[in-house]
Structure formats: structure tokens, C-alpha cells
Symmetry: D3
Subunit: 68 residues, 6 copies
């Protein structure tokens, strides 16, 4: 399935910190930047996410702000 | 001013396509990935954005989904 | 690819109204409800969306508000 | 009060899982689909949400992505 | 209908700039601050919004970032 | 750094309620309205937010809905 969200950045999961409802997933992308992703804990379980996994960070265009 | 949005990726503006209310800004980040950002046309004008500018793509953690 | 966004509703595209940067896509879901989706015009083109297409409306949990 | 968010889907609350700050609410909509909604725990308390309640899932158009 | 979005700020519409799909609405709130709201043009039409209208700016808690 | 998000409302932090992953920050803005902001706990720590701090509530235009 293709999705309309236009930004897909390949990366590797470096850390997962589970909360009660949400979980924070840290993803290393090319250039060494660490992205912080907060998704539901249910999604972490369903996708069986764990450190070392190759994943995509997916971001809608309207959610990318610009700083200058 | 520091902002709570946790993800800031340095990049260079490669293209700006203005609409009536919104505008699409294409940003090249390390690794050669092109990010698509849709912001208001007012912001493009106020920040005087133009191709070649060094900017930051700024994204809240809750807006980073994960695909696997 | 599986995505962390938890809500996927099957539907059929009934209308597409293109703007300059964004486009409005109307999707009929089970029960006859019409969903309104605003995505980039680029995505409409890339996914080659057209009326009659079977698609999924995909929504993150944090974007579903509740009214009572 | 009428709200600009264009998508309102009637449903019934089937489950509420409270966290510290956020809470996950599961809503059954026509066709039997279960929607996952993550709102603040404060809102669950203020709206006195509980399983069995008839509610509306409310979603802005710009938050409805499309998968094909 | 009560809605889970926790922030509701009373204000007066000072300007509406319609695009093809989206529209920008400028709202003056107490203290004289001008808020910029981008909603669908369909919503502007359906709510019959016009300058001078008393409205509420409604914002989900997860969309309020903090700068310091 | 200037940011594309168009709405910046000055206020004072009145309360912080930390969860495991997220935290709720209550901000008083001119006119006495209390805004509710949910950001990551990491951001609360990094920005060293505490009650009494003068901060800005920052909101993207596309996240400001209108109720009438």
C-alpha cells in the first residue's frame, strides 16, 4: 500500500521508551541525526518494533515546519 | 528562542511552489533526501524563503509515524 | 509496509477537487458517510487517484477528537 | 456550536484505557470498524466518557491521509 | 455538542482570504493578538463565516508547542 | 531562529503535570484564559520548564479550528 504522506526517511531504531498509552521511539537517520517519534504503545506492539529494526519515519508535508 | 518540537533537520531549500493560501517548499537534507513541507504563503513571505537558503525542517514528535 | 497510524477505513473515492498546492478528496465509507481528505496535489498525482478508486482513509489516533 | 472540522462519524465507545496524561478511547463506527482515539485524560473526565456512550469521532480534513 | 479539544479562545474574525481548497481566517483574540487559522474553504462556506463574526479558535492540546 | 508556525501567544506557565512520555503544561494567556499544552516530557526537561516561566504558546495555522 502506498500512502499520501510524502516524507519517508529510512532509519534504524535506537531506543524505545514505553509509557502507558504512548511510547517514544528514537530513530537514527542518515547523517547521524536522531529523530524522536511518539506513537501509541499499541502500534509498538503490533509492529513488534525493537532497537535495531530498519524502519521508515513517515511525515505528512503539512507537519513539516521551517525555521530560519 | 528554543521550541518544544524535538526534531530539527538542517537542509537547503531546493524549490518553492506558491499557491493562494499555502506553499510547498522542497528541502534537501543530509543523505540527499528531499523533504516536502507545506506552510502558509504568508510564512514564505515573512521568512523571505528562497531556493538556496539554509533552513531547518522542524517536526513535532507526535507527527512522526513509523512504517515497517 | 505496515504503518503506525492505527485507523484505516476502507472507502471509495467519489470526488477530487484540485487546488494549486493541496487537493480535496471525498471518500465514501461504509454506512454512506462521506469523508473529506485534504492532501497535496502531488500525492493525488503520484497515487494516480481518481473517482471510483478503492482506497483507505488513514488517520493517526491522536487526530481523532471526540464530541459528545 | 458548529465546528470547522469536516468529518464527524457517529459511534459507540467500547473501551477506555487511561494513562497519566493521555487516554485511549476505542469507538465502534458503522460497519463494525473500531477507531482508536487518543485524547487527554482531562477530556475523558470532563466529558464523563464511558463505554456505551454515543459519541462522534471528529477529524480535520488535513488529518485524513489516503492509502492505495 | 462538547468536544475533547481543550483550548477554546473567543475572538472576532477580522479577515478571510479564500484559496481554491483552503482559506485563511484571521481572528482577533483578547489582548489584541491576531490568530491565523487555515481551514477548508468548504467550512468557511458552511459556517457562513465573515468578518465581524464572534467565533472560537479551537486547538487540541497536542498542537500547542512551547517556545522559551 | 524564526519559525513558520504563525501563531505565538505570550503567557505564563501555571502548572506542569508530568506523565511517562508526555507532559501537560498549563499556560495563562492575556485575558486570563488557560491554555492546555501536551508536549514530550523530554522537552519539559530540556527547556527546563517550570511554573512562573514566561513562554510562548506556538501553534500552526492549520491546527486552529473554528467554532461558531
Amino acid at each position: 500500500m502506498e500512502i499520501s504522506a510524502r516524507n519517508k526517511i529510512k532509519g534504524i531504531i535506537r531506543d524505545i521508551k514505553p509509557g502507558v498509552v504512548m511510547a517514544k521511539v528514537t530513530i537514527e537517520i542518515p547523517g547521524g541525526t536522531l529523530l524522536s517519534s511518539v506513537i501509541t504503545r499499541d502500534s509498538v506492539d503490533d509492529l513488534q518494533l525493537k532497537p535495531g529494526d530498519e524502519v521508515y519515519a513517515i511525515i505528512k508535508s503539512t507537519e513539516v515546519m521551517i525555521g530560519k
